[in-house]
């Protein structure tokens, strides 16, 4: 916990050093840093659950794309009300997670392989369902022209801000999910079982834990988080891009790791992921307000990832 906080502190100090003529001190900068990090953060919450079991979920980025497309179609094309479209999109994400989880649990595929397959598959689904085009408010008419419709109210609501414009809804959603997942992981018997499974699966099985069910549920929860992220992503972009979420799985994993959760499983918690999310969010923001070009930004992110993980290494006796 302390070390994750140190990483965040360093990033904030970095921001103060390179404040880009005071841009770092504006409220808007912080709000936007959090807003942009929130989608990643939501993914990282689900990812934490899976990583605690000693697994990994590479499919979340594709599930973001798939659910974003589906959610946009339901909302823009078919004008479904939110109380049908939101649960449907969530169910799609959960189903994807359930398939990954089932592959991990029954044929005992390695999580890396099972979710790699799901990653490719879900991306293909997104392209199939959308016909390979972005699902946006520009509806193609038959004769090659477009007809424009209004941005759905639901998208505006999800992408709105509360507290006099100081806090994005997406950030609120992220914090709520982090809190819920954190409580489940720390206090619910399921969370405790996830740690046991990640620590020593055989001992957990022999202690009579429902190893398969708990693991499966972790992947379902991860898919669910990806669906929430997909809904948010669609609302922010006001469209369902079948390519949306590409590479997000790596950012989500990076967040979990920067927080200090062990990739081998059995250790870590949601508070760390929260700190990791904020760290990554600020990092991106600082680089962007200083107008660091994309190429340099990627390189710097890589360096900082390694540095953060090195500072967090547990001291071994």
């Amino acid at each position: 916990m302390l070390r994750a906080a140190v990483a965040l502190l360093i990033v904030i100090l970095l921001g103060m050093a390179f404040h880009a003529d005071g841009a770092f001190y504006k409220v808007g900068t912080h709000r936007d840093a959090l807003r942009q990090a929130s989608v990643y953060g939501i993914l990282a919450c689900g990812m934490t659950l899976v990583i605690v079991t000693g697994g990994i979920d590479l499919a979340v980025g594709s599930i973001v794309g798939f659910t974003a497309v589906c959610f946009s179609m339901m909302t823009i094309w078919w004008s479904w009300p939110w109380w049908i479209s939101v649960p449907s999109a969530l169910a799609i994400g959960a189903a994807c997670g359930a398939v990954s989880g089932a592959l991990v649990v029954w044929p005992r595929l390695q999580p890396f392989i099972a979710t790699l397959a799901m990653m490719v598959f879900a991306r293909g689904m997104a392209k199939t369902v959308s016909g390979g085009v972005k699902v946006s408010t520009a509806l193609p008419t038959g004769d090659g022209t477009f007809r424009y419709v209004q941005v759905p109210e639901l998208f505006r609501t999800i992408d709105s801000r509360i507290l006099f414009g100081n806090l994005s809804m997406v950030t609120v959603v992220f914090l709520a999910i982090a809190a819920a997942a954190g409580v489940l992981l720390a206090r619910h018997i399921w969370g405790r079982d996830l740690y046991a499974i990640g620590g020593n699966e055989e001992a957990a099985r022999l202690s009579g834990l429902a190893v398969r069910r708990s693991k499966l549920l972790a992947y379902v929860a991860c898919g669910l988080c990806a669906a929430v992220a997909g809904i948010c992503q669609a609302a922010q972009e006001q469209q369902g891009d079948p390519e949306a979420g590409g590479g997000y799985e790596l950012t989500a994993i990076a967040i979990v790791v920067i927080g200090g959760t062990n990739l081998m499983g059995g250790r870590g918690h949601m508070g760390l992921t929260l700190l990791g999310t904020i760290t990554i969010g600020y990092l991106e923001k600082i680089l962007s307000i200083n107008a660091v070009p994309e190429a340099g930004r990627l390189m710097l992110t890589g360096v900082i990832l390694v540095a953060a993980v090195l500072t967090q290494r547990r001291r071994r006796f």
């Binding site: 619910h188 046991a196 001992a203």
Partner: protein, 432 residues
């Protein structure tokens, strides 16, 4: 070693410990669970560094670790020659390695270590340390997973090593071994040396008193079993409520497998009141990365929402019952001493209040004092109507505790002996 001190966090594990090991002697290092024996040996071998003090003399030390240090995914031969494989131009000669492996040990050199039973793994570990031709060899409870026969082989080997001028530090909780092989004895208590002298000068009772700090009788408690209804039935024998049935036999005779067959579906078995302490606490007993509390409360009924206060109280009760020595119940199971890990593995199952308790080597690595307490507890539980099936490679323990001894050979039951019939001779006869 001179004035060695070591602390982990807030706990001082070793205080100004002196230890001399001479060529050609077996130096017994005795002490309770958690006294600091393994820690001292890790400092001697250089895998841990002391906070204060010096290690003088040769750094040429090989260690047979208590918590085995083999690589489970590699073969026996790979493990034996790790870091010094016979090679030409960097290419490993597999056949040469296999040949030399066969000279050292009669285990298939191409078998993966992870697939071997714990006794065979222990022998690989011994062969690995011995084959390094080190001047000093540390043996941290080498016989805890060996049968009497294999232990005798080890003692012969120790004799040969001694005459070669090798110094040996030997750690054990099996009291009969102490007289058999020790030349000198050093006793540790709470990380301090309380005695160091020639083995002949120290009587067994005195040694135990020095280790534990109080009188402990080595007598087994008397049993007056009150048998109830039948709890499990096999074709050849049955186990009844209030009865302790001992399973004897050489390794590979199928005793462990027999227990496992009663626990093939753990969830169902636990729901029916069966509990099983497995033989290998590290790989199948504990989640080493979790706290002592979490491990104690892992099995059986648990509330859906955790209540840390109540959990702590419950774990504290179990820890007191088994006299667990831990700096805190929040520390990771990994950080406990070997014997204390065993107690946690046992505590987990006691909590489920089973009606049938399966124990595979319950006192493995447990010190004399705590062994007595576990015997008392087993007696107490069986008085309350628990049925117990027990495997122990220590024959005296097995015979004294059991109301009936079932001897196995080649996967089958070869004899069922009543209390009166079960003498060491008859058991060995039926087993071989």
């Amino acid at each position: 070693m001179r004035r060695i001190s070591k602390r982990f966090g807030a706990t001082q594990v070793l205080r100004q410990v002196d230890l001399d090991v001479f060529a050609g002697e077996v130096h017994l290092l005795a002490g309770e669970n958690g006294a600091g024996k393994s820690t001292l040996m890790k400092i001697l071998a250089g895998t841990l560094t002391a906070d204060a003090g010096v290690v003088e003399g040769s750094a040429d030390v090989a260690v047979i670790y208590q918590e085995l240090s083999l690589i489970p995914t590699m073969t026996v031969a790979d493990n034996l020659f790790l870091g010094r494989m016979p090679a030409t131009w960097g290419f490993v000669s597999m056949s040469e390695m296999a040949r030399r492996s066969r000279e050292l040990i009669d285990v298939d050199p191409y078998a993966h270590v992870g697939t071997l039973p714990i006794g065979a793994r222990q022998r690989v570990e011994i062969a690995k340390a011995v084959s390094r031709n080190a001047r000093v060899i540390v043996m941290d409870e080498p016989t805890s997973a060996l049968t009497a026969l294999e232990a005798a082989e080890l003692f012969a080997l120790i004799g040969a090593l001694k005459s070669r001028g090798c110094g040996i530090v030997y750690i054990t909780h099996k009291m009969e071994e102490t007289e058999q092989i020790a030349d000198r004895v050093t006793v540790l208590r709470d990380g301090q040396v309380v005695a160091s002298c020639a083995a002949a000068e120290l009587k067994r009772a005195e040694l135990i008193r020095l280790m534990v700090g109080r009188e402990v009788s080595e007598q087994f408690p008397l049993r007056q079993p009150v048998l109830g209804e039948e709890r499990v039935r096999f074709p050849e024998f049955s186990v009844r409520a209030g009865e302790i049935v001992g399973l004897a036999g050489l390794r590979g005779a199928g005793a462990s497998e027999l227990l496992m067959s009663l626990f093939a579906a753990p969830r169902k078995a636990i729901a029916q009141g069966v509990a099983m302490l497995t033989s290998d606490r590290k790989t199948t007993g504990l989640v080493l990365s979790m706290s002592v509390t979490a491990n104690c409360l892992m099995a059986g009924r648990r509330p859906v929402w955790r209540r840390p206060e109540r959990e702590r109280a419950e774990a504290r009760g179990l820890a007191d019952l088994l006299r667990l020595r831990a700096a805190s119940l929040e520390m990771e199971a990994r950080e406990l001493s070997g014997g204390n890990q065993q107690k946690v593995a046992l505590a987990k199952w006691i909590r489920t209040r089973p009606s049938l308790l399966l124990l595979d080597e319950p006192t493995r690595g447990i010190d004399v004092g705590a062994k007595q307490e576990i015997y008392q507890l087993m007696n107490e539980w069986s008085r309350q109507g628990m049925a117990i099936l027990l495997i122990s490679s220590e024959l005296p323990e097995l015979l004294a505790l059991s109301d009936k001894v079932v001897v196995m050979r080649g996967g089958k039951v070869s004899a069922v002996l009543s209390k009166e019939e079960s003498t060491p001779e008859r058991v060995m006869e039926a087993a071989c």
